[in-house]
């Protein structure tokens, strides 16, 4: 039991970070970023290259993942999404654009890093074994780092000027404009920040599960599930969704083990029932 909860918390922290980035971009721009999973994969490969290949410290590698993705995200907003949003008022246009970027990233990752599953050396050795919990120390460390980043993100959104500006933009675009918030600037910062979070998680998880070019799509789908559970565009919803999915996965893998690989089948079925009862998710806004 303790084991299941510990696994769930560890997974949930990672998932929540992925969902936070996705929900931030959605809340600011009304864009469903289908390329979010690919951003995660890119972050993983950058940590693989910097830590695994070049041998620089792990922390440096994760920061490099985050910063590279932030830059890529900023460029994506500035040159792709902003252009399309200015010219087209149809939501399908940005959805198509996001899907296309996802395929593009998949191809680029495959070209640069190949199709092999890549791992990196363990960041810390040893296993925690007490209170009925068996958890390798590297998982604990990665879980704590993810928790620290989540906390940092919340504080940033709550107490800094750019954070307030982005919350204002997400809640009422026109009013934010009237307060003097430069829409273009803060939308770009938001997109970069969302991408950076994906890069961080990719880097963190590369040390645990390794990384391969094919998992971008599945990660995107998981991220969408999380924000469906929590409610799209809401920070607390993304965190809740991440931890709920992490916990369900952890419970499912334990309880349903004897039936084979059915955890996600059950989760999807449960999600369908849940959404038919609460279509806006746990904390979703009724209008979006």
């Amino acid at each position: 039991m303790e084991q299941v909860v510990a696994n769930g918390l560890y997974l949930g922290a990672q998932y929540a970070l992925v969902a936070l980035g996705l929900t931030l971009i959605f809340g600011l721009m009304n864009v469903l970023n289908f390329a979010h999973g690919q951003m995660y994969v890119l972050g993983g490969f950058i940590t693989y290259a910097v830590y695994g290949q070049l041998g620089l410290p792990f922390v440096v590698a994760v920061i490099a993942s985050g910063i590279t993705l932030a830059i890529i995200g900023g460029f994506m907003e500035r040159f792709l999404f902003r252009t399309v949003i200015r010219r087209s008022h149809r939501e399908e246009s940005t959805m198509l654009l996001a899907a296309a970027t996802a395929f593009f990233f998949d191809a680029v990752i495959l070209l640069i890093f190949g199709e092999k599953q890549r791992g990196v050396p363990k960041i810390v050795k040893g296993v925690f074994n007490d209170f009925g919990i068996i958890l390798p120390y590297d998982r604990i460390l990665v879980g704590l780092l993810a928790g620290a980043i989540i906390l940092g993100f919340i504080l940033f959104m709550k107490y800094t000027k750019p954070g307030r500006a982005m919350r204002a933009l997400a809640q009422d675009r026109m009013a934010a404009q009237l307060m003097g918030v430069e829409v273009n600037r803060y939308t770009m910062i938001g997109f970069a920040l969302g991408a950076m979070l994906a890069g961080f998680v990719g880097g963190l998880l590369a040390t645990i599960t390794g990384i391969n070019s094919g998992i971008g799509g599945p990660i995107s789908i998981k991220a969408f599930m999380m924000i469906m559970i929590g409610g799209a565009g809401v920070v607390s919803g993304a965190i809740a969704g991440g931890f709920i999915l992490g916990m369900m996965e952890s419970v499912g893998l334990t309880v349903l083990r004897q039936y084979g690989d059915v955890t996600y089948l059950v989760i999807f079925a449960a999600l369908m029932v849940f959404l038919s009862i609460r279509p806006n998710g746990l904390m979703g806004k009724p209008w979006g």
């Binding site: 000027k161 307030r164 500006a165 919350r167 204002a168 809640q171 009422d172 026109m174 009013a175 934010a176 404009q177 009237l178 307060m179 003097g180 918030v181 430069e182």
Partner: protein
Amino acid sequence: MAQILNFANVDLYYERVYALKNVSLTVNEGETVALIGANGAGKSSILRAITGLRKIKSGEIHYDGRRIDGASPAELVRQGIAMVPEGRHVFPYMTVKDNLLMGAFTRSDKAGIARSLDMVLTRFPRLKERYSQAAGTMSGGEQQMMVIGRALMAKPRLLLLDEPSLGVAPKLVQDIARSIVAINRDERVSVLLVEQNSRMALRISHRAYALATGSIALSGASADLLKDDRVKSLYLGGDL
């Protein structure tokens, strides 16, 4: 008195339909000017043109001697134009405090912001009681007070108010009207007020313009317009 706003010969179109045709008006320093007229007459379009939310097709807008048409909303806030939009547009999930601080987004003088916050909370004591509450959970009247306070946090010299009495309980309309008068008098803010409640607007303003289908039909001192027969029948519903 010096002109703070000169809105000259402005045409404004939504797609191909015109909303304003050759509209000219002025606001002098220290004045409260009302824009009255039916739904769709173009009152709100004038405010949107001033704040840069809508681009004008022709004409010129001058504020404080400078030409401002084409400037971004952010730039205009910095220059001292604040707008309270129709339908309030509070940030629903932010506290009253954060909403008010958003009003001072373009300012960086900490002491000045604290003074403005103090002034707003003194003027609207109700906001003090609701200080840490999410703005979306307040009543319409309270939200209206808050967005007026939020606009004042920018320390504006020209305050644009779009339908401040809309969706507000009748009892509170009086309060809001009184605070507009007080703000205009005490804070040395010129006010351009758009209102469907024409009677209220004419009572609290110095001058007024009456709009009909995108053009100015009448203008003059508000006290005179209140007695004008055409205004009475068209905008005040006959009985006064």
